[in-house]
């Protein structure tokens, strides 16, 4: 481990005040010895940098998928006080509400005939990759509705059923979204991209539930072993990227205006109650809603393909849940015995609210919030549930994925997209992308083992295992 970082538990490490100058609180992160082998010093530095920001509460945190990002580390979580705290796009990222959802089908693995045809039909129905455009042309009024109401807008416009938005974090629609704070440029980028998957690590994957660890919670979520599911991972597309770029510039000026001193320009921020901070929150919430509507539209296209190919009713494919990975939100948490409203930033981290949380649909109240952890292309994904421990220790947060371990440059040198595709094919996993380079970029070898990341959050109790999913086929950007 890095000098200056101390172990305080089997899976918990502390970065003391003074690790970088001007830290206001200590840093804390969760990691096993195996994962510690690939920890980058830059990621710990970024965790410590976050601890210098005004109004940070208790700790600057990182989950076991911590790695080197920009601004916050990936896997970073921090809460800021309402009176003295700030909001920063560096704690959310360019892909606002990049997130993931999982959909069940009534099919078992044996029912999944004509898999190649299914993959091609999904690839045709969901625009993917660089430069992909939607077949749908939204006008300004429709886009504004999408930004204000998110998943709810999509359902009201025929892209789903009522239970869908009830099964999303924030019910798929963040309060306080302000389309007026979204620039013309961002709107222009968002208009032709609704319902598109994007590129990079975004995917749509057909999976089979291969193991249930917690029968009761799985039952509440409507899952059983052998069942075919679909996982969708994508975000707010060019609209969210532009919102981040625009507001980063505004907040850089605000950082100077309010006399805030920061160790990294990407952490540009403004007080939560300032006009600049409020404008960023409004635009970010609107982008988050765009992302929820976007995933809803992709899920709608997926359901239509399954309904057509396997003659199953649209309504028999249930959305288990949808979670955001990159977002800042106002939440209430107990801090040192006192209930406080704080602004929680999660950058590459998942909300993991415990049982009894009023934000959950009634059917999930006893089990806690479903937490979806996508694996990489050839490796399993997991469903967990949120816990009281997460509420006490991590502002109700847990990990979001495997976390990269190999750079894209190295991946491209060492791995050929064609070979990976063939190797996955031999394991029964079909991959479809526009270009093989998209496959090499996201090969299983470039990620940390998802099992190990999930084991750490399970052992520390910040979420608990419910089920494991194995991939059968995937479409990529």
């Amino acid at each position: 481990m890095l000098p200056g970082v101390t172990r305080i538990g089997p899976y918990e490490w502390e970065v003391p005040i003074g690790f970088v100058p001007n830290m206001r609180v200590p840093g804390r992160f969760f990691l096993s010895d195996l994962l510690a082998e690939t920890l980058e010093p830059g990621a710990v530095q970024q965790l410590a940098n976050v601890a210098t920001m005004p109004g940070i509460v208790k700790h600057s945190l990182a989950m076991p998928d911590i790695h080197w990002g920009y601004g916050f580390p990936i896997g970073g979580v921090a809460a800021f006080g309402m009176e003295d705290g700030v909001i920063s796009p560096g704690g959310v990222g360019f892909d606002i509400n990049c997130g993931v959802r999982i959909l069940t089908t009534p099919l078992a693995a044996a029912d999944l005939v004509r898999k190649r045809e299914l993959i091609e039909a999904l690839f045709a129905a969901v625009p993917t990759g660089v430069g992909a455009k939607s077949t749908l042309r939204l006008d300004r009024k429709e886009l504004s509705g999408m930004l204000t109401d998110g998943s709810k807008w999509a359902v009201e416009h025929g892209f789903g059923i009522r239970e869908d938005f009830l099964h999303c974090e924030e019910q798929g629609s963040m309060v306080g979204a302000d389309p007026g704070a979204v620039s013309q440029k961002a709107l222009q980028r968002g208009m032709p991209q609704s319902g598109t998957l994007g590129a990079g690590n975004h995917f749509l994957e057909i999976q089979r539930v291969d193991k249930v660890f917690d029968l009761k919670a799985a039952g509440a979520y409507g899952l059983s072993e052998g069942q075919i599911c679909v996982m969708i991972h994508c975000g707010s597309r060019g609209l969210g990227h532009q919102v981040c770029t625009d507001h980063l510039r505004i907040l850089e000026a605000a950082t100077r205006k309010y006399g805030i001193v920061l160790p990294d320009r990407q952490l540009a921020c403004a007080p939560l109650s300032s006009p600049e901070g409020l404008a960023y929150f409004g635009a970010m919430a609107a982008s988050a809603n765009y992302a929820w509507a976007n995933r809803q539209m992709i899920m709608h296209a997926t359901r239509e393909v399954f309904a057509r190919m396997y003659s199953i009713p649209y309504e028999d494919m249930h959305l288990v849940y949808d979670v955001a990975h990159n977002v800042a939100k106002f939440e209430e948490h107990v801090v040192d015995g006192r209930r406080r409203r704080v602004c929680v930033h999660r950058k590459g981290a998942t909300r993991a609210f415990g049982p009894g949380s009023p934000d959950l649909p009634p059917a999930y109240s006893e089990a806690g919030q479903p937490v979806i952890i996508p694996g990489s292309m050839g490796t399993p994904s997991f469903l967990l549930h949120g816990t009281a421990t997460a509420m006490e220790r991590t502002f109700g947060s847990t990990c979001h994925g495997a976390g990269r371990v190999m750079s894209r440059t190295k991946a491209k040198k060492q791995l050929s997209g064609q070979e990976i595709k063939e190797a996955l094919g031999k394991k029964g996993i079909m991959v479809r992308a526009h270009h093989n380079s998209a496959i090499a970029d996201e090969a299983p070898e470039v990620y940390k083992p998802s099992e190990e990341v999930v084991r750490v959050v399970h052992e520390t109790g910040i979420s608990r295992l419910v089920a494991r999913f194995v991939p059968l086929g995937v479409i990529k950007g």
């Binding site: 920009y70 601004g71 892909d95 660089v130 980028r189 770029t245 510039r249 990407q266 990269r404 894209r408």
Partner: protein
């Protein structure tokens, strides 16, 4: 003018070199397009661009962010730019070709240009930009 990709686990980190600052802006734009589309060749498309920012790093950040926006909305793969620099302002004429799905799908989507790790420096021979793209 040249660029190379440096090690970075999650994102794309580049080092761009050029003899003049104007060429550095142009080469950085081309490098960004190569990352995004796999190639960026000169073509028939032309487009004026103008950005303002208080310092050099912010100016190149604004310039690249504007090109990212233009590229997506106008479906233009930018291969370079004739750039003019003045105090707090970069002006240029972009050159490029139309985006074609069959030729421009070998790259990876860039979500934004990070201010973390964005530096412009100079050695005896050239100007050097280091920049991280979120992909």
């Amino acid at each position: 003018m040249s660029f190379e990709e440096l090690e970075h686990t999650a994102d794309v980190r580049l080092r761009v070199k050029a003899d003049t600052l104007e060429e550095l802006f142009s080469e950085a734009a081309r490098a960004m397009m190569v990352v995004m589309y796999g190639s960026a060749e000169p073509g028939p498309m032309r487009r004026k661009i103008e950005v303002r920012a208080p310092d050099l790093e912010s100016l190149i950040h604004a310039f690249l962010s504007e090109i990212l926006y233009i590229s997506e909305v106008e479906e233009m793969v930018v291969s370079g730019a004739d750039v003019r620099l003045a105090e707090g302002c970069a002006e240029g004429d972009l050159v490029g070709e139309p985006f074609q799905p069959d030729r421009h799908r070998a790259g990876t989507e860039i979500k934004g240009i990070s201010l973390s790790g964005l530096t412009v420096s100079r050695d005896n021979h050239s100007y050097i930009l280091e920049v991280i793209f979120d992909v």
